[in-house]
């Protein structure tokens, strides 16, 4: 088993599949009366969050607690972090506390890589800057597999602000490792340069959402921050949602079986219409529930839980 999960590129197909299979077992066990498993009793998991993300922190916290680990939440607010303590000094503190795993969320790309130099425990990337969010990709893959029965050969459209999206990067890496066919869709300003060479040769790029939808098994809508307008990535929210938003009319272009995903939080009415988000095709609520199972599997396998 790998020691850290800093990038979806840390996962080969066998390891990724093992995590998804383990997550399925975790989901089955969590469904029973006894929600706590003793697997990580006596182990310490630190949630080191430099960015506010209640949903991700709660998901990791629930995952660790269901495995009976001791959880320490170390958030940027009300700690030495806000006084400007360096990541290295914080790492040394966590090291002294005997952290077995550090789950880190940080606004700087690569912060998990830096942290892994300074702690002995496992490092789990819970989102770093505009780089990656590998457990989000795992829970997305888990959701696709449970809805559609497979990942190999699946056609996935990832739509929106790919340039700034850590979810997109991790999804491209993981999905192509698992045999899916990914098409990135968005305005050219928001599709990074050399993306196929950078992430996976198998990745395709399209600027035309309507052309991609009829041949997609999965369409994943990315959050688009409206402040991108000020930076001339696109002219207005209205034009963005006309060209790249998923509304009911567009959703009808999808094949019957296709699903609609969103990593949240959503801008309803911008990249996704409310009726689409709430439709039976939408997996948005499932994604949240699957997140706990997948993160249980990641912690369990990284820490070699028994």
């Amino acid at each position: 088993m790998i020691k850290h999960l800093r990038s979806a590129a840390d996962l080969d197909a066998a390891t990724a599949t093992l995590i998804l299979d383990t997550a399925a077992e975790m989901a089955a066990l969590s469904g029973r009366e006894v929600k706590k498993l003793p697997a990580l009793r006596g182990r310490t998991v630190v949630n080191l969050f430099y960015e506010d993300s209640t949903r991700t922190r709660i998901s990791f916290e629930a995952a660790a607690k269901r495995l009976s680990a001791d959880v320490i939440n170390f958030s940027a607010k009300g700690s030495s972090v806000s006084k400007g303590e360096s990541l290295k000094d914080t790492a040394l503190t966590l090291q002294a506390m005997g952290a077995d795993a550090v789950v880190i969320r940080h606004s700087a790309s690569g912060a998990p890589h830096r942290l892994a130099n300074w702690v002995d425990g496992s490092v789990v990337n819970a989102g770093d800057g505009t780089h990656e969010h590998p457990t989000q990709a795992l829970l997305d893959a888990y959701t696709m597999r449970s809805r559609l029965g497979r990942l190999d050969g699946l056609k996935v459209a990832i739509v929106g602000d790919v340039l700034h999206s850590r979810v997109a990067r991790s999804n491209v890496l993981l999905l192509t490792t698992l045999g899916a066919q990914v098409t990135l869709v968005g305005p050219p300003t928001l599709i990074p340069l050399d993306v196929a060479a950078a992430l996976s040769e198998k990745t395709q790029v399209s600027y035309d959402l309507d052309a991609v939808l009829p041949d997609s098994d999965v369409v994943m809508m990315l959050r688009v921050q409206t402040e991108r307008m000020q930076d001339s990535y696109f002219p207005s929210a209205r034009e963005y949602s006309r060209r790249y938003g998923l509304d009911m009319l567009r959703m009808r272009k999808l094949p019957e079986h296709a699903i609609v995903m969103h990593p949240g939080p959503m801008n309803r009415g911008m990249e996704i219409a409310p009726e689409v988000a709430d439709s039976p095709r939408s997996t948005i609520v499932e994604q949240v529930a699957n997140g706990v199972s997948v993160r249980m599997a990641v912690l369990y396998l990284l820490l070699g839980g028994k």
Binding site: S86, L87, K88, H106, S107, A108, S109, G110, A111, H113, R114, D128, G129, T130, H131, E132, R166, R169, P192, L193, D194, V195, A197, A198, L199
Partner: protein
């Protein structure tokens, strides 16, 4: 002190004896009281000249001082360095440039030639008193806002014109600031993978293209700092073919390293302009050979530990360079001594207007600014073993060819047996 360098090879030529007396190369071989140095196997080069050094004093003496930087320079074979203006306070007045110049004289290890800021506080708004700096004791000839680009085209035009009165030159840090907002590394495949904001090659090329046209229009001298892209080389090639008075430098790190090194997010590889691609490296090497790029300049940029031991985005850009420059150039180009002497000593001395440097060592009466290199020696770069006060070398653990055995500044040894004399 007089020296007799026995069996030395001047620029790779047949071994000969070189006599140094009264601060110059002497034809008198019969000096009895001269200290004899066995220089067999050693190559004599004119003392290296760096047109782009950050010495950090005043302001960041925890990272480097004029003295520690001078020592690093002498150990790297340098006899003159041009100290960049982005200190605190900024070297934008006669007072500050004279202070740096005086500190250099006191250290006495290399000639420290201050560079003056183009604009007050490097703010890019108002021209600094360039004339006052030029006529100060520091005798400033190169002006640069390095660290920042003189982005305003009108201000750049005026600065280019204004310094003609005292044969000055504007050294431009070519970076269109609107195209590099938040930039962290070269924009391309690797930045896409790493999720780091890209610094596009065109941000450099667009400024160089603009500035060669401005220099041509007003008939002034332009020097381009740290050229880093293949596209910039093409712009310079065309400008030089038209006869524009432009010179350009390349750093040792841009001749060797590529953006792939950012993959581990270790900020020791963070530098501005950023490390580029393999094809850029190849183009820069060819440009230096062709003379499209005139000089190798270190952009020696010391940084305190805490400014590098952090997240990539928070780290300051820059790398040490003085003690590794010649070995890197040797490793890239081999023992092409005439090329090395020209690009690292003669041409930079000419650009900086440093008359006593880059002289002909075969001629009696040439100021004895020279360095002795053992080209066969190999050494492993140990950050802790460097003379700089900082440790941010990107070459840690690398085995490099070429050891500086001795350096002489106006006939006085600054380095002997590979050690600084003070």
């Amino acid at each position: 002190m007089a020296y007799l360098l026995k069996g030395v090879s001047i620029l790779g030529a047949e071994p000969t004896d070189l006599f140094i007396k009264d601060g110059v190369i002497s034809s008198d071989k019969a000096g009895k009281d001269a200290e004899v140095i066995d220089a067999s196997g050693l190559v004599a080069l004119p003392g290296l000249v760096d047109v782009h050094t950050h010495l950090r004093e005043p302001g960041r003496e925890d990272a480097e001082t004029v003295e520690t930087g001078s020592r690093a320079a002498a150990l790297g074979g340098y006899t003159a360095v041009c100290a960049m203006a982005n200190t605190s306070p900024v070297a934008d007045t006669a007072g500050v440039v004279e202070q740096v110049w005086r500190l250099g004289r006191e250290a006495g290890l290399v000639d420290v030639q201050p560079i003056g800021a183009v604009t007050v506080g490097l703010a890019g708004k108002q021209m600094a008193e360039l004339g006052a700096m030029a006529t100060s004791a520091a005798n400033v000839r190169i002006f640069s806002d390095d660290g920042f680009c003189v982005a305003d085209p009108k201000l750049m035009r005026r600065a280019l014109e204004y310094v003609k009165a005292f044969d000055g030159v504007i050294a431009q840090h070519a970076e269109e600031p609107r195209l590099t907002e938040g930039a962290q590394m070269h924009e391309g495949e690797v930045s896409t993978r790493l999720g780091l904001t890209g610094w596009p090659a065109v941000a450099e090329e667009a400024i160089i293209a603009r500035d060669v046209l401005l220099a041509e229009h007003v008939g002034s001298r332009l020097h381009v700092c740290h050229v880093s892209t293949a596209g910039s080389v093409e712009v310079l090639r065309q400008a030089k073919a038209r006869g524009v008075r432009v010179t350009a430098e390349v750093t040792p790190h841009h001749l060797l390293l590529t953006d792939e090194l950012a993959a581990g997010y270790d900020p020791v590889f963070k530098v501005n302009p950023p490390l580029r691609t393999r094809s850029d490296v190849e183009a820069l090497r060819q440009a230096l050979l062709d003379g499209i790029i005139d000089v190798v300049a270190t952009d020696h940029a010391p940084h305190a530990v805490q400014d590098k031991e952090c997240e990539w985005a928070y780290a300051r850009p820059g790398m040490l360079g003085l003690e590794t420059a010649l070995p890197i150039v040797l490793s890239v180009f081999g023992e092409q001594w005439d090329l090395i002497a020209d690009r690292m000593s003669i041409a930079p001395a000419r650009i900086a207007g440093l008359a006593g440097h880059g002289g002909d060592l075969t001629k009696a009466g040439t100021p004895a600014n020279l360095t002795l290199v053992d080209p066969k020696a190999r050494w492993v770069v140990d950050p802790g073993g460097l003379a700089s006060r900082s440790r941010n070398t990107p070459y840690a653990g690398l085995t490099l060819p070429g050891r500086i055995v001795a350096t002489f500044l106006r006939g006085e040894a600054t380095v002997l047996d590979g050690k600084a004399v003070k």
